[in-house]
Symmetry: D2
Subunit: 435 residues, 4 copies
């Protein structure tokens, strides 16, 4: 997480101020529940809310205390006591630091997930709008980077939309995984604390109760969460890579928006580079990189060790802030993408109809040629086109073996573009529920 | 995937024979659908089923053809034609290789997921049985590898069970992700093939229709699948690590079963090592390692490139076979785990009641001492125990400052083990639905 | 490691037969050294060589014994005793399994490194030959996928060569890291074995003595080895990616060789796809994937645990066999690469001289225009070309602001290609030591 | 890189101020070289040094310019011109941004490497001192977490020292990999810039000339660099894991220093946890995580794309700062490690001499028993000890089959600890060059 690739709303989730505020809320809600159970005086609970609620926690002061006691939650509680006074001794009763830390992390990750889901929603809206804009814009479909058969640019965007619909569903599931509350004490046995406290805090903080914890919320949940972020980032990379390909000079079917004041290169004034999508490729690498340490965090020793903590202090913000930035940047790129439909047509025409080879192949087999023979007949004419010897249709028309099966009209009919678009509506309905 | 860490049922999913059989079924079902649509003769479809259905595909022959044509599906179709005869030209009409390959992979991964789910079910049954067996067996809970507070061995096993319940749910979701069928042609436009064919094949093969494909099924699905396997493997590692810790000589609270003929070391005849769970730790590293290439596979170029293929040829079998083996091995370990309840008690008693420090702390605060003071009072006596100076309870009883708040009876009551187990039923109900 | 991506010589290093033969040699050399020290009878050592040397070890028999004793080295020793008879009791004296296993692994990895170094040498020879072939063939240099400035195809190949020269040096260093022998006993103290045995075996097996071992050779060595393989694989991916880009339909500056019998697609007979280099991209992902488990293997518990073993049984062969295959395949691709120099020229001319924008910029600044102004003047003309409005040189000649600084002759001179190639000899000398 | 895990000296390498200062130096040295070549006026070069040398670059101002031109180097050059005036047009002549960026990164990484090497040197000094302190302190060696045979705590520390000696050598090699300078222009052809400029800047900045660059320094170099950091971090984890194990309550052979004011747990005042070494375990996960994106950065498109940049903006600081912190923390831990030699002895005695089983085994074979029989005889007595039935030595003395080969004196002699330490001097000489 570096400022260059951060957006304020997501970054603020991870500020010390936000963290201490959540810690306070967890402690204060827990005090309420304990007051309800008669474990702490109701007045104490009220005092905690009142005096702590308006306290402005001093991050530097807390850090100073921590340098002495070498324990972050104790440092916070000490500072809180400076506001709350003697009632502070009712704070954190029977709880352990991780009750606070892990429940707080759950709140932060759930909030982060909410922002990411909203990001994807914005991206989906853009993709849908532009998919309909280019619904029937012909463009060549490519496999292996080689021309394959015609498709439309709208279909390409619909494909991206379908992928981000899946991303959305995965993020919702990841949020579900992570949004649990544990207030179960030192080794998860509720020895010193009634499970009712956990239930109350969970409800107030918008979380579910963790089935069973061990001082900590089990880290398979977090591993799953960060793994999902890695998958979503990979989908970002996929669409970014598509744009990078489309912008390369020889293709130039689409371009990132290039503002009038922008400079593409310090040395070469002619440059207009797909720098945003290249950047997204790099950011995706980072979000993916955070998956493995999250997986390594699962096997904590016995009821818990604290090796996961430093990892999460880094990847918690790094992973969510980076993905948030990436989704937002991708949305901007797709929103303003400059689409060169003329170049799409030009590229499609480049090989003189070679992209229709399969239709000719199928026609031959349907007219009785064996699949093997048909393939050979079409391929031998296609290879001449690659060698630059001329035009595919002309070759076919002049190939006596082909003409044994296909008339001139038969052949010409195979070069019709419309044939390929008859299921576009069908595809759009599948993805967008409408066409 | 190496024989040493493979089980036959999972490995057989990945055999060439199994793959070719699935390919055949996809092609034959597609032919049926096309016959229904009047695209190919019904007799041809029947012939394909009849002659192909009883064909014994010759893997070496297919390999030989592939070496010539350098294309695996074409090699298979050529071989299939040797059985089916002239009707073979109706096979694969309007389809592209990936229609067959990707739908086949979906079938294989779905089957693999089924086996993994069954593996987890077996493990869960063992964990539940043993959790109840040791439901109230006292053992020390440890954080940071250091004694924390009492728990029961049954609770420890319940925690593992809850984790594998989540593993199960994740595997079910991963199966859902992967089990889709795509028969949509060269660039996913259904140009040469009616979507009805896809629908028919999907139904017959037990899959859902892929929303939209691009010659290939989008690889974010597979990334998600392998990521889930990585998370499950990490949970395997966690429980394996627990066993390794429990077996270490100084702890020896549990041991892998050691058969009478077994030899622990070629050099040291006294050795009984936790080799199975160490092995599981290593296997988990491998299943995790396969996550990143699966993530890197997502960003294929344009409609598709084939870089994912070699990765999947490796991690498809490697990941599923290894995890299947690991789950089964873990089940065996837990099933036969030798539990030394006497050592559990001995270890718990090792520090003379230090594990009750929190109860004393809480009692002090409840009697009016500030949290800060209470902490200091308890800690100063505890540290003497660490220095080997004597017994915690005795120190407390003799500490005048402590005694200002707590009577002898008060103090003694804090050393009661039963206090810690009052919510064990509650925990068991949460995990197993019963106590 | 799957047959499809294996070459026999590398695969044979990892066969059980090869492993058992190395085990035997280590044991027999150790017996020699012990005989020299008077610890075992010289006749016994001679007998071991004589009877063991001609023994044909039966892999299945060893496996069967292992299933009983659950220990691979003991199983081997038991089998060896079946050949050697009573003298077998002098085998493995004071040694521990890892003395044999780890020294064997060192031999295997060193042999694998030798093959990989030889692979790189072959690749380098091909790259050098083809670099000189196209030393002055003009082609456009691209940054961000966008035309930048002219270079030559020979320079591009020289760049690849320089990278594989570094790969070679890294492999040599990796071999050095790994090629150590440890015969130091159960915890590395040489309690039961004289260090002279280690020294003798090391020399005979072509290894160095490990500085200090702990039953096992420390795994940071292996981590470094597999990390280097991951770096080399990434360099394979880089050159493979270059070929994939050059072959894409709109670029088509180079192509993988496509044999007359080859079929590019089961559906589209016109296809010629860069399948080999796409495959290399996937294989590189796998070799990279093996780095992380090797890193996770370093932190073994205490003097050793055996979690590294399953990892190495997999990545030992998988990593070396895959990289060997990849290097060999890449060599084949580059050897037979079909280069379309005409398309290189055509692509370079595509933007009407825009690739010379920097020269104009520099000329303007040298004639006294500020860098800012110069940039603006060049950029405004360049952007018109991107908009398809016409020819760069013509725009410049007609731009009055430009002409304040530059004459017609000045401008025309900036479009000379030769200007860019004046240091090609220099570059070649740096890389190949000759031009 | 977060403040909690950062040390100022390493962090300052990555400050914007440091970066801009290095950029300036590269530009100014380049101007000198160009002045020498007569390309720019000598007075201009002097002016650049004079006015730029005393300029205080305004990071916020540069950021503001960058927001407009969307190019960081152009923003810097624009700001530099505000100090240097009209002579600024001679800055960056014929250079491209990457000439500056990549050479700067090389300087930063080389400086980072220097700090890391110094860190390792400090760690090595501590390890050597403490190794000699405990050179002959007996402690049990463990494999699989199970008692194996005696060793000394000094030997354990010598093993760690040997590993960090290798770390040091790897860091030196990594520095060598990375410390190159490229000033070769837009596509590395030296079209607009004389190679003499590169040579001059390289020398002045303490770098070597890059053999051949492509606008950028090839990223296999950086991949190798970060891979080495991952290996070194794994060695940190190994030693950290050892400390964690030694501190666990049942073992307690060593402990992290625990200061009088420290609090181990907010809830349990008795706790003293190995939090520093647990933290190191987590930090190692992070440094390892940065390896894969560095590997993915290698395959840039054509002469370069910019996807590597965002990755390096993160992992450049994150990886070096984290490893620097980790090495320093580890040094502190080892420096102040509290060693409980009494517990080492107590643990060693725990199994009544079982750790001498191999000596008995060897004695039996030397007296003529077959290896198989010897093993069985020793194992059957050892297993009784595990079952808690009594004392190993007594069992052996009473085993008639054993006594056929070994006298009482023979057996007793096998339980001598000194036997195991006879090669400690040898080991120390190998590691430290002295004993």
């Amino acid at each position: 997480m570096i400022p260059r690739y951060s957006r304020p709303e997501m970054a603020s989730i991870w500020s010390p101020e936000a963290r201490f505020r959540i810690w306070f809320e967890i402690e204060a809600h827990a005090a309420d529940a304990m007051a309800e159970l008669g474990i702490v005086p109701k007045e104490a609970a009220a005092k905690i809310w009142e005096l702590g609620g308006k306290a402005e926690f001093d991050v530097e002061r807390i850090d100073a205390i921590e340098r002495e006691v070498k324990h972050d939650v104790i440092a916070f509680l000490t500072h809180l006591a400076e506001f709350v006074g003697p009632e502070a001794r009712f704070v954190h009763q029977g709880m352990t630091s991780s009750d606070v830390l892990d429940t707080c992390l759950a709140v932060q990750l759930a909030r982060a997930a909410d922002l990411l889901i909203a990001d994807v929603d914005k991206l989906l809206a853009v993709l849908e709008r532009r998919a309909f804009e280019f619904k029937l814009t012909p463009t060549v479909g490519r496999s292996h980077g080689i021309h394959a058969e015609p498709t439309t640019f709208g279909v390409k965007l619909a494909i991206a939309a379908a992928e981000f619909q899946r991303s959305r569903a995965r993020l919702v599931a990841a949020r579900e995984e992570i949004a649990t509350c544990a207030i179960s004490g030192a080794v998860g046995t509720f020895a010193h604390i009634d499970p009712a406290v956990e239930a109350h805090v969970a409800e107030k903080m918008g979380l579910k109760v963790e089935t069973v914890s061990t001082q900590v919320i089990p880290r398979d949940r977090h591993a799953m969460f960060f793994a999902v972020l890695g998958v979503v980032a990979s989908s970002v990379e996929r669409l970014a890579t598509e744009v990078r390909h489309l912008q390369r000079t020889e293709v130039l079917e689409a371009e990132e928006y290039f503002s009038p004041e922008q400079k593409g290169s310090s040395a070469m004034p002619h440059k207009r580079n797909p720098v945003l999508t290249e950047n997204l490729t790099g950011l995706a690498r980072m979000v993916r990189a955070y998956v493995t340490p999250a997986l390594e965090n699962v096997a904590l020793w016995h009821e818990r060790d604290i090796s996961h903590s430093s990892v999460e202090r880094m990847i918690g913000p790094d992973s969510t802030v980076t993905l948030d930035f990436a989704l937002s940047r991708l949305t901007g790129v797709m929103d303003k993408l400059v689409v060169h439909t003329d170049n799409m047509q030009k590229n499609m025409d480049k090989l003189g109809g070679l992209i229709h080879s399969q239709r000719v192949l199928l026609a031959l087999t349907q007219k009785g040629a064996s699949r093997e023979d048909s393939y050979r007949l079409v391929q031998r004419n296609a290879m001449r086109v690659w060698r630059g010897e001329g035009d595919f249709r002309t070759f076919l028309l002049n190939d006596a073996d082909v003409r044994k099966y296909l008339s001139e009209e038969d052949i010409n009919e195979k070069f019709d573009l419309g044939y390929h678009f008859k299921n576009v509506d069908n595809i759009f309905k599948r993805v967008f529920g409408r066409a």
